[in-house]
Amino acid sequence: MTTTAKPRSRMSLRDRIHVFDAKGSPYLLVAPFFLLFAVFGLFPMIFTLYASMQDWSVRRPERSFIGLDNYSFLLFEYDRFGWSIFNTLGMFVIATIPQLIVALMVANALNKRLRGQLMWRMLVLAPIVTSVMAVGIVFARIWGQEYGMVNGFLGLFGVDNINWHSGRLSSWVAIASMVDWRWMGYNALIYLAAMQVIPRNLYEAAALDGASASQQFWKITIPQLKPVIIFTVFISSVGGMMLFVEPMMFGSGQLSGGTAGQFQTTSMVLVDMLRTHGNYGLSSAAGWILFVVIGLVAGLNFLIINRLQGDK
């Protein structure tokens, strides 16, 4: 790479192979990724954009260009779609905020001097072994109206049986519990990793200045963790906006998300459009709208967290 091959004609065959190797091999090494990505990632994305502007379904296989009609149908005519975005955002908010706060507390606890470090970390992470499907199956029963454990527990305090599935907010809470249960430990470990690289002398200096443990947590730990918090919120928003299996299993495996779509997410609408109605155009448009929403949510989260920290 450093030598510009000036006396090219006089190079031996071996040198030429060597130059080719140095210049060409890197591209060969990254080629498998980019080839497969082009076929199974990039091309489908672009094709989806094209399909989203077509009147195209199983029943109308000869597609015709209709501009942005699919988008305006979803956004302005098909009520369930707008609600699905609202539902998805709502579940994301009530799942993410408590989850990340608890994860921070747990990370802080794990960062103390504990015997059997690895065991504690594994116990916190254990829910991750459960597939989303298994979580959905078990938690749907836990939140059941007649025999569910949550209602049974609330009954001890004289609370009447709640039909968690029927209300919007109540079903969100139940679904958020599945997300939180599965991901809290994962986020806690990410925070723990970041806490461990905070320089110790920051704490020592603060302690000498008389800062209490909780002051140290708020004035040192949290600001130092800001980049990681942004990272986890970002990852959670991408994942949360694609929520699918949990609400599906909460609704007995159906894509309708409750009788009135009270817990139907945008992913469920998208899949429903494709699987149940065979409408390729609408499903594609739903995908791109979802993509834009994810971008907006991620950007907004970034701004909010930045602002919060800026006040300090």
Partner: protein, 306 residues
Amino acid sequence: MSTALKQPQARPAAGAPKRRNRGRHLVSIGGAAGTPSLLTKITLGVVIALSIFPLYWMIVIASRTSRDAISFPPALLPGGNLGEHVERALSDPQANLLLGLQNSFIITGTVTVSVVLISTLAGFAFAKLQFKGSRLLMGVVLATMMVPLQHLGLVPLYLLMVELGWLDTLQAAILPFLVNGFGIFLMRQYTIQSVPDELIEAARMDGASTIGIWWRIVLPALRPGMVVLGLLTFMLNWNEFLWPFMVLSNNNPTIQLAIRQISIGLYSTDLSMVFTGTLISIIPITVIFIVFGRQIVSGIMEGSNK
């Protein structure tokens, strides 16, 4: 991303580190390695209890009768029916659990091998080789991690599989997952950490080709990283639902499709059997988690902190 995450830590430490050794025992240091307070212990205890309970309860109900699932206070001790339930679930031809397990192993195994290999190749190139456009290409790799590719590609990929006549075949479930941007990101970090430049230079002096260097120097050094990436990829793909749901049927399911079918159809009224199936479905990952717990924990912690 790696640099973006690291930067703020360069903030200067305020205060006087000179006097560090004096008074260390007189003040409470709330940060690393402090002693846990009572509140800390309680928090941890409650969280872990809540983390474990649903898993434990699954075992309890799977080993008792469905009647016990609907009693309150809930049954809290395992019963003696687990063996019988497992046998019944596995031998029920309609449940398709064995086929589901087998399919999931084939799909997940293939995807894992592919992701690990492709990621070590590209990770090495991005970490140690200079080539035009490498920054741009790495940017593309990172961007792929942020895009909901599955949702944006659902329609064309589904139609492609229909066109090829591959619905209900395993290759349809495998192909879209063969590459993964996160894998490259992780292997690039591992390569930077664990392969010294001098080693590569020395091998070049000896006339080794780039591929030869990858094979003889990079791969052996990356073995721990490959194990971590392999474990994470395996766990992620074992749990995959949406895409297999699109292209596979209940006649040729993955384990996730099979337990969904058990739960909403076959045994929808027999909770013991539902939980038995669910329990069977998480056993492979649980075994991996217990055997490789250390690597998985460190993989998650290191992967995020770069």
